[in-house]
Structures are given as C-alpha cells and as structure tokens.
C-alpha cells in the first residue's frame, strides 16, 4: 500500500483552502508525502472521532492552535457529526469539514490526516485509538482510555509498533497547580511519602447495571448506526438514551465511579510518585457501594487511598489528589486558585518548580500543546500509552476487587492477579465481531 494515493483529493482540498485568510498558511506535511510525520515547521492535519460535549471542549482547545487544521469528523450519529462540522466550518469560514459515519472508511480514505481527536464513550476509546494508530494517525484520546487490561495493552503495543504519538486526556498533568504538587513530592519537600489519596466520582457506584433499557424502534442507519455505536460491546436493543449519555453506569459501557475520576487521579498520583510504569500490588476490599476508602498498596509500601469525599473534607473541588509525607502534605483539586500545603513557605517556589519542570521535560503547561509538540518531535507525551495503561490497570484492579468483594494481589510485571483465576478472567472481554482487533 502506498502513502501517495490521496494526493489529488488533498491538492483539491488545499486549492480551496489556501485562498482563505482564516486558514493557517503553513503547508501540511502530506503535500510532501510525509503523511504521519509532521516536521516542526509544518501544519498538523487533524480529524475527529466521536466528538460530543467533552470532545467539543477539547476541539475548542485545539482549533486556536496556529499549526492545526481540522478537516473531517467521524461519528455514527448524524446529529453529532453535523454539529462538529458546523462548529469547524464557522471557525474557518467555509464548508470544507467532511463528515463520515463509518470509522473504517474514514481511516482508510483520509490518509492526509496526521492526528485524530477521539472522544467517544468509554467503550470505544481503545478500539478507536488502535484502529487510528494502525492507520498511521497520532491520537489524542479522552479518558478513561481502556475498559480492560487487554485493551490497554493493545493501545501500548500499537503505539510502539507504529511509533505513534498518543496522549490520554489527563489534562491536569499539564496544569500548574497539579504539576507543582507533583514536583513538591518528587523533590522531597514532603519527606518520605507514605500515602496518596485519589478522588473517585462521588455520584456513581462501583457496581454497575447489567440490565437493558427498554427497546425502542431502531432509527435509520444514516441517523444512528447502532451496530457501530455498540462497537466491540455485547449486542443489546436500541434505546436513544444510551446515545445521549445514559450509557454511564452500564457495565458494558462504563468503568464505574472508580474509572470516572480515577482515570485522572490515579494517573496523577502514579506520575507524581514516579510509579507510572507499574500499578499497586495489593487491593483491600471495602464493604460499600463505591470503593470509598479502599487502600491499594504499591510494592514500595506507599498507599493509594480511594476517597469519595462526599462531605468535601479533603478537597473542595473535583478530581482531587492529596500527597502525604513525613514532612508535610499537599492537596489540590479543580477550582483551586493555588494548592493547599502544610507549609505555606513552599508556595514561594511555585513558579520555579513549574518552570523547571517545563524546562526539564520540555512539556508545556498545555495538554493539547504537549500533544501537538510531540506529533512533530515524536517525543513521549506526558499522558503516554504506558502511563495511561498502568494507571487504568489500577482502576481495573480496584473495580475487580469491588466486583469480587474480596482482597486481591496483582503482579504488575506479569499483569495478572496472583493465584486468582476468577479475577484474571476479568482482564479482557471478547470483542464483538467485526470489531475484533
């Protein structure tokens, strides 16, 4: 298969867009036959997969970037793909954004696209990432990035295999307050760390629904391609509520209250601890409906405590983390103007610590920009596939612990539960044909 085949259509596309002042003047890499490898001075051609509310938020972060041009979107729901097209066309002042219902057609034909923004529901995150990377695209994927251990492994392997850049939407890893907290921990301000606390979504439960919503008449495929919407999940009859967000709390589609926020907060903790290439080895079951208070222990003895924090005693915002050491603590959540610290004097070092982090890692305080920079430099993103997979493995293990209602041990090297056949059977779910990767 050659990567030169789409030149005619791309040139036609460029011919139309070049005259428009709103469109960045840089030439996309694909013109030079460099699809999938964007040199530093060139433009990144972006496409979308499954962009809804959260995705629109991400898209609105990406569109103002001067070296980005968004050209097409793909969604099995007509209303959503048309909404994205309208947003993009309004921004560029043209009607050029293309829409696709079938992800396979989208990926196979749009070889001009360098990277995709994938913001489907949880059930499609890993599948979309694998298919896109296999088609040579770099991927910015919303969280939680995988439903199972096996899906996470597939994302890691595919990114490495095709040397793709992948960023999981754990955007707090690129925010000053959270970075400062991580640097305090890394540089020893807190002394020896013994406990980290991670917020889990207060409104959901760990146990999830297995029932079906009442069957409704299937809409025309052009309006909603129900088979594609389900993707790799077990079949169930159509109900419009699934497509408007009520897939949450269903076992087939969601990763529970633990994954809802744990996808963020476990990753934040594991990055802060420098333990993003592993997962806790022990999980203690707690007899409640959410996993609140569960203690997961890393091999070095540091405890990760899951906190629902319903009465807002630990944080007064969402997706909080708190790191506790022998010399003090730091806590941070969304909406904080500055982190809460046991020693106010540390705050004087805020700017230096964040600046030094950016210089040391060459990662800016913009999650989207970090991704776009890495598309060009081919460096590892801050929320790279391995980090995503290992923090999501913590989510999966905690969920399985809650479902089986007992303590368990995980061997992170083998990625299997120790002497626990039953738990190991949760590590993957057979994918529904033809969505088999």
């Amino acid at each position: 298969m050659s990567d030169k085949k789409p030149h005619l259509s791309r040139r036609a596309f460029l011919g139309r867009t070049a005259a428009l002042a709103a469109v960045p003047a840089l030439v996309p890499a694909s013109v030079f036959g460099r699809d999938g490898a964007v040199p530093p001075s060139e433009r990144i051609i972006l496409g979308g997969i499954g962009i809804g509310n959260r995705g629109t938020h991400d898209l609105n972060w990406m569109l103002p970037e001067k070296d980005v041009q968004f050209v097409a979107t793909c969604d099995p729901q007509k209303q959503r793909r048309e909404k994205v097209k309208a947003l993009v066309d309004t921004r560029y002042g043209n009607g050029d954004c293309k829409v696709y219902a079938d992800i396979r057609e989208f990926l196979a034909t749009r070889t001009d696209i360098d990277a995709v923004l994938s913001t489907t529901g949880d059930r499609w995150h890993a599948m979309a990432a694998v298919l896109a990377m296999r088609a040579g695209k770099d991927v910015y994927s919303e969280k939680p990035s995988a439903m199972t251990f096996a899906e996470g492994q597939a994302v890691v392997a595919t990114a490495q295999r095709y040397r793709r850049v992948y960023q999981s939407g754990i955007q707090r890893l690129s925010e000053g307050n959270f970075t400062f907290a991580n640097e305090l921990l890394r540089l020893g301000y807190l002394g020896k760390i013994h406990t980290v606390r991670a917020h889990i979504a207060p409104w959901d439960a760990a146990e999830m629904r297995h029932d079906w919503l009442p069957e409704q008449p299937l809409p025309p495929k052009e309006e909603v391609d129900w088979d594609a919407w389900l993707g790799p999940c077990p079949w169930r009859p159509y109900n419009a509520a699934y497509c408007s967000g009520s897939w949450r709390n269903h076992y087939d589609f969601h990763t529970s209250c633990i994954g809802e926020w744990g996808a963020h907060t476990f990753a934040q903790c594991q990055v802060a601890l420098g333990l993003w290439e592993t997962s806790p080895v022990e999980y203690k079951y707690v007899n409640n409906d959410s996993g609140d208070g569960m203690v997961a222990t890393f091999a070095n003895g540091i405890k990760l405590v899951l906190e629902r924090d319903m009465d807002k005693k630990i944080w007064h915002g969402s997706c909080g983390v708190r790191y506790e050491g022998t010399e003090g603590w730091v806590a941070i959540a969304d909406g904080y103007s500055k982190p809460e610290v046991s020693n106010p004097a540390w705050m004087a070092d805020f700017k230096k610590l964040v600046d030094d982090y950016c210089a040391r890692t060459q990662r800016p305080m913009s999650h989207v920009r970090n991704f776009l920079d890495c598309v060009k430099s081919r460096r590892q993103t801050v929320a790279n596939p391995v980090m995503m997979h290992r923090s999501m493995s913590t989510v999966h293990a905690a969920n399985i612990c809650m479902w089986l209602k007992r303590d368990m041990k995980l061997d992170p090297a083998k990625e299997e539960f120790v002497n626990d056949v039953e738990a190991n059977r949760f590590r993957s779910r057979a994918m529904r044909e033809p969505w088999v990767i």
Binding site: A135, A359, P434
Partner: protein
C-alpha cells in the same frame, strides 16, 4: 397453553430468577453453572437471558459449559456472547472447541472465532488458520492475519510471509500487523534473527508510512549488532518518514556512538531535520552531545538555535552556562528569551554564579534581569547582594530587590526589611517594603508571633509606616495583634484611626468581625459608620473563614446596611455562599426596589451551584420554597425563567435524563 408447556415456562422462570444476577451484581453466587447452562439450552429463555448467562459464565464457567457455549458459536444472535464466555475460560478444551468451530461457522461468527483463537494464542490452530489467509471474504482474511500474528510462532510468521504477496489490497495492513506481532513475539522469545528478517521484509514493502517507519524502528532496535550502522544510513535518508523513524529509534538506543552519529549528521541537514535530531539528543540524556548542541545554539536558523538551547538545558550540563550568558544579548529576540529561560532553569551552582556575576556588573538593566533570574532560580545565597541593591540609587532596582528579599528570605530578614521600611523614599518603596515584610512573616515558623512583634512597633513609627505595618498585621492576624490594632481605633490621630479601621476590614480571619460590628452600632457619626460597615463587608467578602462564619456575618450586617452600594456588596457576598440559608437571607431584598434584580440573580446563582452536575442534590428540597418566592417576587423574566427551571429540578431531586 398446554400443561407441559406451562410447566416448562415455570421451570425456566425459576432458573432465571436464581441464576441470572440482579441488575447491579457483577458476579453470581458460586455453584450456579448448571443453572446458567440450563438457560443456554432452554428454548423458552429470551435472548437477553442467554446473553446474561453468557456474561456470568465468562467469570465462572468451567468444563461443563464449554460444549453448550460452543454450540452457539454459529448463531448470528449469540455467537459473540458464547465467545465472551469461552474466551477467558482457561480450560484447554476451549481451544479445541474454537478450532472445531473453524470448519463449521461462516460470516461474522467466523471472524469472531478467528479473533478468539488469536487472543488465546492457540499455536495448534496455525495450520487451520492458514487457509483463511486467502479467504474470498476479506474480513475473514484480515482477522486470520491478525490472529496469526497474535500466535506469533515461527510457523505463523512463515505462513503470513508466504501469503503476503497475494494478500488483497484491503487486507495488506492486517498482514503487516500480523507480521509485526510475529516479530515482536519472536524477539521476546529471543529469536531475534527471525524477528529482524521480518522487519527487514516489512521495510522493503511499498507500504503505508506507519509500516515502513515501524519496520525501521524494529529493524534498528532488534538487531543485536548493526543497529547503529542502520541508524546512520537512514539519518541520511531523503525520505522524511524513514529519517524521522530513525531519529525516534535513536532515543531507545544508548551509547556515545549513537550520540556521535546524530551529532555528526546534524550539520548537513535541513532545519526541520536538525530540530528533530536536536530534540532527540536532549531526550537521550547523553552529555556527550553538549558541544554539538552549543554549536547549533550559536549560529544557524532561529528554530534550530532555540531547539538547541532547550535541549542543552534538558541535559543540564554546566558547560552551557557561558553560552547562555553570551546569548542573553543576542540580536534575535527569540534567542535572547530562550537563553534567559535556559539560565533560569539550568540546574547547578554554575548558573547561580553567572547570575550573581551579572548582578554585580552594576548596570541597572543587567541588575534587574539578574534579580528576576535570582527569583526564578530561588538563589538563597544572593541575600547580601539583594540587601545592597535594596539601597540602590535606581528606584526600580531598589524596589525589586526589596520584594526579592521578602520572596527569598524569612523571619531572619525582618530587621533589614523594617529598616528599609523606615527609610522608604517614596510610596512605591513603602509598598515594596510592606509586601516583602508580609512575605517574610508568612514564611516564618510562627507568623502570629512575628505579627505581634510588628504590632508592638506600631506606636514607634511614622504614620505612613504605621499604615503599612497595620496592613501587614491584618494580613497575618492573631488575637494579640487584634487587641493592639483595636486600641488604635480609639487613636486621636484621624489618619491612624482610619488605617486601623481598614486593617480590621482586611483582617485575615473573622476574629475582627465582632469589633467592627460593635463599633458600627455604637458610632453616631454617619461617615464613620459607613467606614465601619464597608470594612465589615470587606472582611465578610475576603476573610479566611468557614461558610457558616461568612453567612453569620452577612446576617448580622442586615440591620446596618442602608445604602444601595452596601446592599449590593452584601448581596454579592451572599451570592457566593453555597447554602440554602444564604438564599433565605437574600429573600427579603427581593421586595427592595433598589436591589431587587441583584437579589434575584444572587438567589438563582446559589441554586444553580447547589444543583450542579447530574445530582442527586442533597439540598434540593430546601431550595423549593426560596425558588418559589423568587418566582413570585421577581419582575425580571430571565431570572424567573432560570428560577422555574431550577424549581422543577429541585422538586424532582435530580436532572432529567
């Protein structure tokens, strides 16, 4: 319905009740396998019940469930669910069942079965799968190629290599995927020569960029020897895909030979390619790259120079410091800024020393830049120089130095800072000294004790300094300091008296509230009353206190607030308190024509915040009555509309799905 049929229906109903789990229970109780199998076999059970049974068998199915599940593999409706149950079952009989199904099922179920064989890495299936590589159904051929890759044995790789030339165009990427998987599996099994042979073959294909790039990466990194040689070859490639893949691979290839190869090739390349190599050199962490990076930083296209400065900073080598200093004066603004950023973040004492030297130059511009760098680098050793600069003839240098002393120093710097405050030559000097004293006190081990000491000095300093110190004391707080400041409210000096009242209004905590309230109630002077009330409201707005304390302050203020601006200020504070009680305090103002609109906005804003997200909202029931009152009282359509929406949600207790 016949009796026999009714009997059957009842049996199935009983089986389902006990075997299929409740809505929210992932794992059924132990020992249910037989019942679940019965559901699978029952002609009365619905598709939903059978799917639920399969899900349970995925967790706890044993040998007995294999045959009943295998019987469903050809079913369009249940094939996936049967695989869902079989795939995680560790019993080897599952593999035999899947292999057996290969010859029986067709279409999408066949695609699924092939996929499951791949997931289970069943090496015995290679022979049977090989024939599907040339299946006329391209989806089947694609699935077979990927499954062979998962199995990843020498035999699987050979079968894929043999079939690759005839693979249909639509399946080519899947065949490549299969070969990549084989190469990875073989390399992991220490059969590296075979793996390298596969990567070399993939590299030669006229394939998509990701295949060629991935193959080159594999070919470089898997070779026991010869990786660096191959890397060098492709660093000279005109094909940007392969060049980029080679550079990317270099990050995982340690050794100074690789560093040298990258550095040597860099000079002959276009700017984009140079930037890519420079970034890789920074990432690799080998300091042997520093001389080449410094050369690149000195001359050449701006993006290359900026990238080189960033990379050498990443490596953290002190040899770069003189170059950073030199480039601070570069005629290209981007370079000067990049050099400044590098000097600010480069670790080590050499960079500290360079900054201190810059400061000692005596040139105001350089001194100010050095001050900024000292702050960014947090150079604690710079204190003597800063104390000297705080007495500089240059006003900006003087003021920045004072701020820096507060920023970098602690309580030990307070004597110096108080001396500077006393000698302040201008209001700007005074402000700088005041900020520095606040910063230094805040970082002290016992800030309240420091504030008390400062409060003790209040009577000894000039009025302007007294005002500044009062603000410092208020920012830190403490009961003893409060007593001192409270006493100054009775001062005969109007300036001091006014400053003391304002200090109470900017007190850090709610402790000053009773004093301000009592003073406001006691005074008969209307101008002074206004000052007390506004200070009280300032404290209610900004003080560090609990929600309950703030609400109490607002309730207490009700009887004192008379003027329209004061009412607006009070409503502004109440509107930020997330509590149904705050709404109740607001309600009377809905009948006040002067602030009716502000009251309506404050009330609905609170309700909106209390019912954020999907719910359930614990306060929903308490919001019903206040919202009804808002709707009744407001004359503003927008506020009424917002309140009606909220009222409906509050009555339902959560947002409608």
């Amino acid at each position: 319905m016949s009796k026999t049929r009714m009997h059957l229906v009842m049996i199935v109903a009983l089986l389902l009740t006990s075997a299929v789990p409740m809505v929210a229970q992932t794992v059924a109780s132990q020992g249910d396998e037989a019942k679940l199998i019965a559901v699978l076999k029952s002609s009365e059970a619905s598709r939903q019940d059978k799917i639920a049974a399969c899900r349970q068998l995925a967790i706890m199915g044993g040998k007995d469930s294999i045959a009943p599940l295998a019987a469903l593999l050809g079913s369009e409706d249940l094939s996936h669910n049967a695989r869902y149950a079989l795939e995680p079952n560790p019993d080897p009989a599952v593999d035999a069942a899947f292999r057996s199904a290969l010859g029986k099922v067709r279409g999408l179920p066949l695609v699924g079965v092939i996929g499951s064989i791949g997931v289970r890495r069943d090496a015995q299936a290679v022979g049977a799968l090989t024939k599907f590589l040339s299946d006329s159904d391209v989806v089947v051929a694609q699935a077979a190629a990927r499954a062979m890759g998962k199995i990843g044995t020498t035999e699987a790789a050979q079968a894929l290599q043999a079939a690759l030339p005839q693979a249909p165009a639509a399946a080519k990427l899947d065949f490549c995927e299969g070969l990549f998987r084989c190469a990875e599996a073989l390399a992991a099994a220490d059969q590296k020569e075979q793996a390298v042979a596969i990567y070399d073959e993939l590299l030669k294909l006229d394939a998509a960029h990701q295949v060629r790039g991935g193959a080159l990466r594999g070919a470089i990194l898997t070779r026991a020897r010869g990786g660096p040689k191959l890397l060098r070859q492709y660093l000279r490639s005109d094909d940007y895909i392969l060049f980029s893949a080679a550079v990317q691979a270099s990050r995982d290839l340690p050794g100074d030979r690789v560093t040298k190869a990258l550095a040597n090739e860099m000079g002959n390349l276009p700017a984009d390619n140079q930037v890519l190599i420079i970034q890789a050199l920074g990432c690799r962490g080998d300091k042997a790259a520093v001389p080449a990076l410094l050369d690149a930083a000195r001359t050449g296209p701006t993006p290359v120079r900026v990238a080189a400065l960033q990379a050498v900073t990443e490596l953290g080598d002190a040899a770069a410091v003189p170059v950073f200093v030199q480039l601070l004066d570069d005629s290209t603004a981007e370079i000067a800024q990049a050099a400044q950023a590098s000097l600010a973040t480069m670790p080590g004492r050499e960079a500290d020393g360079a900054v201190m030297q810059m400061f000692q130059s005596g040139e105001p511009d350089k001194q100010r830049l050095a001050l900024d760098l000292m702050s960014r680098r947090r150079i604690k050793d710079s204190m003597p120089a800063l104390q000297q600069a705080a007495r500089s003839a240059d006003a900006r240098t003087r003021q920045e130095a004072m701020k820096m002393i507060g920023d970098l120093g602690g309580a030990d710097q307070l004597p110096t800072l108080l001396e500077l405050l006393d000698g302040a030559q201008s209001p700007q000097d005074l402000t700088a000294a005041e900020q520095a004293i606040t910063a230094a006190c805040t970082k002290a081990k016992d800030p309240l004790a420091q504030a008390e000491k400062l409060a003790g000095r209040l009577s000894q300093v000039k009025p302007a300094q007294q005002t500044a110190l009062l603000r410092v004391v208020a920012a830190i707080g403490g009961p003893n300091s409060l007593k001192t400041v409270r006493a100054l409210v009775d001062s005969s000096n109007a300036e001091v008296r006014s400053a003391a009242i304002r200090a109470l209004g900017s007190w850090r905590t709610a402790d000053a509230a009773p004093d301000l309230l009592a003073l406001a109630r006691k005074t008969s002077d209307s101008a002074e009353k206004t000052l007390f009330v506004r200070s009280y409201l300032d404290l209610a707005a900004r003080g560090d206190m609990t929600l309950e304390q703030r609400l109490d302050m607002c309730q207490q203020a009700g009887s004192l607030v008379q003027r329209i601006n004061e009412k607006r200020q009070l409503l502004g504070i109440l509107g930020k308190i997330d509590s149904p009680e705050a709404m109740n305090v607001i309600l009377p103002y809905l009948r006040d024509a002067e602030v009716q609109q502000e009251a309506g906005i404050a009330a609905v804003t609170i309700a909106e915040r209390l019912m954020r997200g999907r719910g359930p909202w614990p306060y929903a029931a308490e919001l019903v009555e206040p919202l009804e009152k808002v709707i009744q009282a407001t004359t503003n359509d927008q506020i009424a509309k917002r309140a009606r929406t909220l009222l409906q949600q509050a009555k339902e207790g959560r947002r409608k799905k």
